[in-house]
């Protein structure tokens, strides 16, 4: 029973991943990330991705603020946006968030051209893509967590006690 559910969950995970790859939400870099996950760092992927979310939300907030609040000091504003976007682009490509990264590229070229309308469009698209990615990855991690729980049940040694403490 438990073994079955482990397999099922693994299948779910693979399907979800395949979907995300197919949609171009993720690329091979995500697999590289997964390769980095081993016994010494069993939650590497989710750790990295959580940091990514954390950072990205900050960046997105900043970008939004820059675009909507500080309308007057344009040039430095665009430069700052460029820096934020570089950040976001770098980290997105590091975790393999392909579509987010692509939107960043577009966003950046819009900001390079001081194209405010383009920036606003890009920001909206970026936020949409970001939310989609976040939802999907959360889903993925949830399945993974269930899977590891299901897998762990068979081995009492690996019970999730640390989780209860936190």
């Amino acid at each position: 029973m438990l073994g079955l559910s482990v397999d099922r969950l693994r299948g779910d995970m693979n399907r979800l991943l395949a979907l995300l790859f197919h949609q171009g939400v993720l690329d091979e870099q995500f697999l590289q990330l997964q390769q980095l996950q081993d016994e010494s760092s069993p939650n590497f992927v989710s750790e990295v991705v959580n940091i990514y979310f954390h950072e990205s939300e900050k960046l997105l907030r900043n970008l939004r603020a820059l675009l909507y609040v500080l309308v007057d000091r344009e040039f430095s504003e665009y430069k700052k946006m460029g820096i934020h976007l570089n950040q976001l682009m770098g980290s997105s490509s590091s975790i393999g968030a392909k579509r987010v990264r692509n939107v960043c590229v577009a966003f950046r070229s819009a900001s390079d051209q001081n194209n405010r309308a383009g920036c606003i469009r890009s920001l909206e698209l970026l936020e949409y893509e970001y939310c989609y990615l976040k939802n999907k990855l959360h889903e993925l991690f949830q399945i993974e967590q269930q899977r590891s729980l299901a897998a762990a049940v068979r081995y009492p040694v690996l019970q999730q006690r640390p989780n209860h403490h936190t």
Binding site: Q35, D38, E47, V48, E55, N86, Q87, S91, I95
Partner: protein, 951 residues
Amino acid sequence: MVCEMESDQSEDMDIVLSSMWPEDINEAGRQFNVEIPGGDQDMLKEVTINKEPKIVDSNRLMELTNYSDKGNWQLANLVKNWEYKQANAVRLLREELDNLSKQQQEVELKKLEILEEHRFEQDGYCGDKRPISILDENLKYFYQDAPRRKNEVVFRDEKVEIDAEYDSVVYWKQHALHLEKLLEASLRREQLLLEKLQESIENLERQSSPVEELSQVLKRADNFLHFVLQNAPVVIGHQDKELRYRFIFNHFPSLREEDIIGKTDVEIFTGSGVKESQDFKKEVMDRGLPSKREITFETELFGSKTFLIYAEPVFSKAGETIGVNYMGMEITDQVRKREKMAKLREEIAVQKAKETELNKTIHITEETMRAKQMLATMSHEIRSPLTGVVSMAEILSTTKLDKEQKKLLNVMISSGDLVLQLINDILDLSKVESGVMKLEAAKFRPREVVKHVLQTAAASLQKLLTLEGHIDDDVPIEVIGDVLRIRQILTNLVSNAIKFTHEGKVGIKLYVVQGPFNVIKQGSQKHSSDQSTVTECKQDKNGIYGNTNGQGTCENEAPMEEDKESQSNNEEPVVWIRCDVYDTGIGIPENAIPTLFKKYMQVGADTARKYGGTGLGLAICKQLVELMGGHLTVSSMEHHGSTFTFVLPYKVSSITDSSDDEELSYMENQDHDLNDGNDDDDLRSGVFTFQPLTLGSLFSSQTSGRIQKLSPSDFGFNASSNCNGRLEDSLSPSSNITYREMSSEEGNRCSSSDNRHLDAKNDQGHFRPYAHPIGSLNSSNNFEETTSVSHQTQAQNGKSSDLKPKILLVDDNKINVMVAKSMMKQLGHDIDVVNNGAEAVRAVQSNVYDLVLMDVYMPVMDGLQATRLIRSFEKTGGWDDAVKAGIELQLPLPNLQLEKPRKKRLPIIAMTANALSESADECFANGMDSFVSKPVTFQNLKQCLQQYLAD
């Protein structure tokens, strides 16, 4: 039954005969197995029988029926049949006749009676009248003899009622009248019978002649045959002695009758199969036995068709063969189907074979995967902690310990090393076996390899043995092969030889043997002396590992050039070099030789006890040699020694790099001043000898033989006090290698990063791995100091396993840092991380790094500027520019001015996102060496590390 049929026959005869159905009662009918034609006679009428295909040579048929047994028999049958029918008819007639004659007799009797009566009457009439009653009674009596039935039938009115009085005139008159009537009736009947008789006779006459009937039977048979055969793909024929057609039935004729009759097969049509069929018929005739054969015709007439031909010989009454009957059925489709089936079956068989093969492959792959898994497990689970233990023990050995502790610790270290070695052996073996082992092609100098192997061996030698190496002059200076593996083999064989040799010598001999593409190049000899100096300089860096190969460091001098060269020389000539490793040891008993190269096998349990070891070494050697395309053999004489021989193909490389030249010659000059040119023709020299030393303190400090790995690090630095406290040991080798005491380098900066060696009091030089030796021209002012460190050991190579290269990652992006760090960790490197260019400059200032990975866009200071500042420092030796740029240097750096500039350019790799505007040109222009594109992957990190940390 016969009777039944008879009764029908007379009535049905006409109908039956007119229909062409044969009688079922007769023999002919039975022969054809015909059903009684009944209500479904019409069935046949609907069928139009095509008579055309039948082609009969009727003369021949006559002949046949006259002369052949078969025809004869058939005719006989028909005749018998006819006779039988005739007999039947005769019998019927006879019965009829009997009937008639009986009736006639009765009539006759009646007549007599009447006559009698009349006579009596006359008598009575004329003579005395007697009472009629008596007569009556007599008459009655008389009549009783006649058949009753007839009486009843014929004479129903026998008793004549006469009303008149007896014997009166009237009575007689009446009587006469009555009799007259009877007579009349009798005459009528007679007439009738006569007519009937006549009719029967006529009937009899009308009945068919035998020939007619016979032909009718035949016709009917013929019709049946046609009916049956009208759609059958059948050809029936008869051919005479000369195989000329006399009869042919072919429902689908493509030739007219006259084209066939009287001709042979060969005359009628041509093509493949025709001759065969004719020969087959001939054969049947010759043998006199019927036979079947499948023949495929390929003729213009009807294309490609296959026939199953049945042929039977026809004999004359005298027993001679007079012809052949044959019947052919077209089975082209069946043959095709059959062939298709056969093909399919074959394909299925092939498929199955493939499947099994595939399963095997899958099995093998699975095995390989398991082996790989085992490898990974082994390396992770055993090697890492063990390395930890050994390293810690080594560090521990540098701390203050008393004698007893030191002794124990040494045992501990050497045991740990042995286990490590063992694990490495097993890993090697499983690598080779699971096909994971990859060979690398790199240039190397065989002479140096031999020399270093011997040096290494000599360094740890604890016996009075002479180690010698001899390399033939025609062995190329430089060849291409997997030097590490070759060295591994040599080391293994030599250490084996030493292990089993107690006195005398152990040696290596190299010479070229005939191979298919044996070309020798010696064009590089003029650089020979240069080489040694280069490698020598390097020794400083690689101090700990010591006595290995100079080759790696040579490459390091100009890695790019080397690479290109080896790539461009795709068609280098191949030279086969034979290598003998000989000894004067205990030898190997002949019966042990077959198992010598097997895993875990040793000559005997005794040997294992006495000499130790796992018995893996030779197995690994053999597998490695075979992996490289060569072979390993052994010859031995017990108590006199053994010789292990392996022959390997190498590509020959040519040395033509001119820039290398200049540098080398430059350094050679430098070297000559300092070094008295004592290593001048080292490269060319083909003979090395390592004589046993006077064993002053050979075994003094060490009980357990510390294996080679660490000892060579001491070798060459004998004069400097030794961290491991095993100075004595290292004194043993190199009698012919003069070494110079290392000048003390007070100004030498201790690597702050290399904490583990800080405890050692005199760690200068060989434990200063990051002081890059000669290599840049602006090092001249400090040159002497540097070079003097390391003159003694020629061509040292090999990265110390204890000293990992230090890598600095400069990136502001947390995610990137996490990923890169984790990847590096999996690749076996710990890295330092800083977040911007300014921090990077500070880090480079206070640490010595072997490689910097630099993001380009960063806050505070970008990667390009940071790189410029670092380069500026390398050039000027001062951080002035950095200070100008506003970087607060962390330390006051008291020795800032004393600091020697780096001997070597620090490789700085840019990390670029292709989408960004930072261009490769920009990176290069700012002094970066290369770039990797982001996001970093295992692949590009590994490549980068291989390229810049190759030495």
